[in-house]
Symmetry: C2
Subunit: 239 residues, 2 copies
């Protein structure tokens, strides 16, 4: 936790905040070994970043005196990620990585090789998704939560929603076996819609359908990577 | 498991192999739902890759008829990774990622912010390290195991071993706050020694010492990444 991310309601006045949830309290006690008088980096959700001093610390609450929180969070990546829904454990780490790397738009979608049962996972609840995203923001010292949408049906999504998502942007389809390697370092300001398949990849029909819709297929080399690894590899190569 | 990696002793003759260990048997049964007559991709440790047909399958053994295993494994990355020893759970995933991405030389080293207890972890046993590396190779369809060395004392390592490791190579020190961004896509054939710090980073003395030894400091932007994420981000950006 390189930044303590405060929800708006945890800020009691412009320069006082109180945190009471067990996860962050435990982290402050056990990992930071925090004491009254210590300073740490804090950020307000969707807002600025600055320093705070611990003015009170018990097993039930931490009270903080906030400096001006006037540093802007790091710039977001200009990408909308379209990710075939990964298996629940992989989803958790992938959400953390996506938030840490600075992507702000994510749509989880169904494809032929996504197991239907994944859509029933408790990991897809709003609060669990939020928890994982917050871990990524705390790690990377960011305050802006990614927005996460769901597209549980492939064809309606491709027909009805995709055209608007790729309009005026570069559309990349990461898929092993494509003839073009994923580019390095896109020109600053170029916006991208990046689609990443499930374990086992897209089926041929999906690749054809997406290429017809305007996606360029790109590969990351001969090596097949896990989804959580591929997301990091693609984002850090493109941006 | 995109490749079944066979140890030399599991190959009973040029075209017959038998696998009996519980982990891979369970994976073949439960994930692949393998049946007699199915074909799958196999590789011989440190050797070639090809297809095999399942000729026998019980709860205790899988027997395989091997085709010619004449495909070469994917090319290795020209990098020697020097990694401050991560906490055990993070080490496991990092080893998997390193193997999947194709790095073949790894030295785990002690630095000021590595907790001494990490060196006592059972995850550092030869067999546990090997297990994690094999998972990465199985994922990426590679057959060549990375070599893993240990440097449990920083100064003697820097003084006695480092000069030979960076001789004739580019030496990069990944550390937040450096003035130069990590380069993208090194010229083909350029060999790199890449040093990555622990959670909390290197201390100033270490950065100075390594820069004096010839390392260029590079950063990955404002965002602080977990070690396992940073390793993937750095390797996929550099190569």
């Amino acid at each position: 936790m390189n930044l303590l991310l405060l929800r708006a309601e945890e800020r009691l006045s412009s320069n006082i905040a109180r945190v009471t949830d067990p996860r962050r309290l435990r982290h402050l006690h056990e990992v930071h070994r925090a004491r009254r008088g210590d300073t740490l980096t804090v950020g307000i959700e969707e807002g600025g970043i600055g320093r705070a001093t611990i003015t009170g610390l018990t097993g039930h609450a931490v009270e903080l005196a906030l400096d001006e929180l006037e540093c802007a969070p790091p710039p977001p990546l200009p990408v909308h990620l379209l990710l075939a829904l990964p298996r629940p454990r992989m989803l958790a780490r992938t959400l953390e990585n996506i938030a840490a790397l600075g992507a702000k738009e994510l749509t989880l979608l169904h494809t032929a090789r996504v197991e239907k049962s994944f859509w029933q996972s408790p990991e897809l609840s709003e609060s669990r998704i939020r928890d994982h995203l917050v871990l990524g923001l705390e790690q990377a010292r960011d305050t802006r939560l990614p927005r996460v949408g769901m597209a549980p049906r492939f064809r309606p999504f491709v027909e009805d929603e995709l055209p608007a998502l790729i309009e005026g942007r570069r559309a990349l389809l990461a898929h092993p076996g494509q003839s073009v390697a994923c580019p390095y370092r896109l020109p600053p300001g170029e916006s991208v819609t990046l689609m990443i398949g499930p374990e086992g990849g897209f089926v041929d029909y999906e690749v054809e359908r997406l290429q017809a819709a305007g996606f360029e297929g790109v590969h990351l080399g001969e090596r097949i990577l896990r989804v959580e690894t591929a997301v990091v590899a693609l984002l850090s190569r493109l941006f």
